[in-house]
């Protein structure tokens, strides 16, 4: 390559070049590498800890229509932590509740397809997603053939205590057949 390096052995030249490239690459990569753990932090935090979903009080049992037709309620969670902020008693989502004898069935308002808000249609007495036209029966099952939604509406655990409906409110991974909670 250069005429005034001729007398140097090619071994030494090679060493210099490899060292230079090595150190330069290390320096070049370093700033990004310094932030990789922080960047990937959300992935690390999501794995594993799906355990404790808290109970949230939703509504008095008496406020649910006796005929089993659904009613929509906000779910207010006692403690919600969003990164650094701890919120007290704030809405985290909404549910349709229906009475089934002494028990309550809860459906997440979000469509299992891509997360649009599902409407309840009084005329046809079914659920309908206005985004991509998935429709669901009152029990949450998919009613259209070739439905965009790969699974029935998402149910959650409920209980009735001292006349109040409680729910373990959760979101689920969209657009897959299996119902997998997001933690």
């Amino acid at each position: 390559m250069s005429d005034f390096n001729e007398e140097e052995s090619s071994g030494r030249r090679k060493f210099i070049r490899v060292t230079t490239i090595g150190i330069s690459a290390a320096c070049g990569i370093f700033p990004l590498a310094a932030g990789i753990p922080a960047l990937l932090d959300p992935v690390k935090k999501n794995s594993g800890e799906s355990a404790k979903v808290p109970w949230s009080k939703v509504a008095p049992f008496a406020s649910l229509p006796e005929d089993g037709s659904p009613a929509k309620f906000e779910v207010v969670q006692e403690t919600v932590v969003d990164a650094w902020t701890t919120y007290k008693d704030i809405p985290v989502g909404a549910v349709y509740l229906t009475r089934k004898e002494d028990e309550v069935i809860a459906f997440n308002l979000k469509c299992p397809h891509l997360g649009c808000a599902i409407d309840f249609r009084k005329q046809t007495n079914d659920y309908f997603c206005p985004c991509h036209n998935s429709s669901f029966a009152l029990d949450g099952s998919v009613t259209t053939e070739n439905s965009p939604s790969p699974r029935p509406m998402d149910t959650m655990e409920t209980k009735v205590e001292k006349g109040q409906v409680w729910i373990r409110f959760q979101q689920f991974r969209p657009n897959i057949e299996e119902k997998i909670p997001l933690s």
């Binding site: 250069s2 150190i23 700033p31 403690t79 902020t85």
Partner: protein
């Protein structure tokens, strides 16, 4: 593979460009003195990359800035490291700037035909300093908040438009959301973009004129690649290692307590601005903000022309050395003045205490939407020591200080209250020597009162031996959280002692002749029933002039509740705090 590169070269001509970049001639051979520019470029590159990553975590508002930085520092995996690298690389950049500047000046590389590039370099120095100034505020902690307040107040010194500039930069009259959004936009957008543009021009001009060689040439000419690049890379690696070492050693950048305009903090800029800070103790702000910077800018502009002659060049070198020596001297002076100042060290310790305190509260209860500063404001521990400092410490002391660690200028004129009502505290109180000392009642009229003259001064050895037991009994009534309560039997035994007729002092005075305990006789000295307990302390703070306490014998102790000097809540917080721990 070769085909792809050929195609790429055909369409872009990158091989020529690369050749041009790498085979720049280095007259006189590669030298260590040329590495500073590359190091600075590397430092800036690091700041851009780490800064962009930090951007993903930062939230610029008065309620979320500190909080988001806290979250990054303490909750995000490796967040402290990322932040630390950005913080210490910023400091390294300042050091590198000075080295680069001095190399250019000493080698005479600022003279024709490189004047323009010298000026561009000076501009870049200004932008870098502005970057560090704006970055200092972003964590929105006490240090950044108070120091930046000083810096922006200096802006107002500019004639005519100064106050307007200040308001534009601060985003209003007061510090708040818009100060942060503006500083952030400057720090992460405007200033780096300017610096990128200036770097491009700087490097273009540098390439146009080539490296300025200091004669005599030590070696024969070589090329930028690989000889000079190897030296540059090793120097960059050394900078990197130093930054990593600092980051690991200090476990990232510091984060003080959240900014609070009502919570005083001694404003100090980052160490490389300390010389300016110190200078402002001697010259009016107008000099620091306007005259000196304008003079510097003019001088820098003229230097290439002054340096065209040999004496002129010597003058320029002398000017920069003098400037550096002066800055170092002022910086050392600033440090030594602060070190010698007890109040300053106390203020730093207090800030450290608050920072730790807020972390422990956050771990317990999280951060409310109103921000972390509200946690400290309503924290009883923090309020207790502040109430003591504000209302009690002008007469009383707490472990010899004002409750927060600050020394008090006024002489002590009322008892030391650390460990108040504990066995140890009462035992000392019952010792004549301590009683009349400044530590207890030496500064009050009780120094010559009945208790001192007729009781404590006249104990026999037998009576003295009983005192620790009396202290134990009295202290038990205080129900202090850090002392184990006496059993019923122990208490009975000690009470019997208190009423013991044998414990009568030489002129016939027993405790119960003046003090009541579990009785309603209303003796004229303070009622000792429940002495030091929550109820007793609160009642005492509310009204020491009550018959139950000093009555009209009271010596200057304010009636905090009766006269409305403190609210009931504040009195309760103060009482809890005073009773919360033993003395140190």
């Amino acid at each position: 593979m070769k085909m792809i590169f050929d195609w790429l070269d055909d369409r872009s001509g990158y091989r020529n460009l690369l050749h041009e970049v790498l085979y720049e001639k280095v007259p006189g051979g590669a030298r260590w003195r040329y590495v500073w520019g590359s190091c600075l470029t590397f430092a800036f590159f690091t700041q851009v990359v780490t800064g962009t990553l930090l951007w993903m975590f930062y939230s610029p508002s008065a309620q979320t800035a500190w909080e988001s930085v806290y979250f990054l520092q303490y909750q995000v995996w490796g967040g402290w490291f990322l932040r630390g690298v950005h913080h210490y690389m910023a400091q390294a950049m300042i050091v590198l700037l000075v080295l680069h500047l001095m190399q250019v000046v000493i080698d005479g590389a600022y003279r024709a035909p490189r004047e323009l590039n010298f000026w561009f370099g000076a501009l870049m120095m200004g932008v870098t300093l502005a970057l560090s100034l704006t970055g200092y505020l972003l964590p929105w902690d006490q240090k950044g908040y108070w120091a930046t307040a000083v810096a922006t107040n200096l802006m107002a010194e500019v004639p005519l438009i100064g106050p307007a500039i200040q308001q534009v930069v601060v985003g209003g009259v007061e510090y708040g959301h818009h100060t942060l959004t503006r500083f952030f936009a400057l720090h992460a957008g405007v200033l780096p973009a300017m610096l990128v543009g200036l770097v491009v021009v700087h490097i273009y001009l540098f390439r146009k004129h080539g490296i300025h060689v200091k004669e005599p040439r030590p070696k024969k000419d070589s090329y930028f690649w690989p000889d000079q690049i190897l030296k540059d890379a090793i120097a960059c690696l050394a900078v990197l290692l130093a930054v990593v070492a600092l980051t690991v050693y200090f476990h990232g950048a510091p984060l003080g307590p959240p900014a609070d305009p009502a919570n005083e903090f001694p404003a100090r800029p980052e160490w490389y601005f300390l010389f300016l800070f110190q200078l402002l103790k001697y010259v009016p702000a107008f000099w620091g903000a306007v005259i000196i910077p304008v003079f510097l800018a003019l001088w820098i502009f003229l230097q290439p022309f002054i340096g065209s002659t040999r004496p002129g060049h010597q003058l320029n070198i002398g000017f920069w050395w003098t400037l550096i020596a002066g800055s170092v001297a002022l910086t050392l002076l600033a440090f030594s003045e602060d070190n010698a100042n007890l109040r300053h060290s106390a203020a730093l310790e207090e800030a450290d205490w608050q920072a730790e305190r807020v972390l422990s509260i956050v771990q317990e209860e999280g951060i409310p939407p109103a921000g972390a500063v509200t946690l400290l404001r309503k924290d009883h521990e923090n309020r207790g020591r502040n109430l003591f400092a504000a209302h009690c410490a002008s007469c009383h002391r707490y472990n010899g200080h004002d409750g927060r660690g600050y020394p008090v200028d006024d002489a002590q004129s009322a008892p030391e209250l650390a460990g108040f009502a504990s066995v140890e505290w009462i035992s000392k109180l019952l010792n004549h020597e301590h009683y009349i000392s400044e530590e207890y009642f030496g500064g009050t009229k009780f120094k010559n009162g009945t208790m001192a003259r007729k009781v404590l001064a006249k104990y026999t050895a037998e009576e003295t031996a009983l005192l620790p037991r009396i202290a134990t009994l009295l202290s038990d009534m205080a129900q202090l959280p850090y002392q184990t309560p006496l059993s019923e039997d122990e208490r009975e035994e000690l009470l019997a002692l208190f009423y013991n007729d044998d414990l009568v002092f030489q002129d016939g005075l027993a405790c119960i002749d003046c003090h009541d305990i579990d009785s309603e006789d209303e003796g004229h000295a303070p009622d000792l029933t429940g002495y030091g307990s929550d109820e007793w302390t609160i009642a005492f703070l509310e009204n020491p002039e009550d018959e139950r306490f000093y009555g009209d014998e009271n010596d200057r102790m304010p009636c905090y509740g009766r006269d409305g000097k403190l609210t009931n809540e504040e009195i309760k917080i103060l009482s809890d705090w005073i009773r919360s721990r033993p003395s140190e």
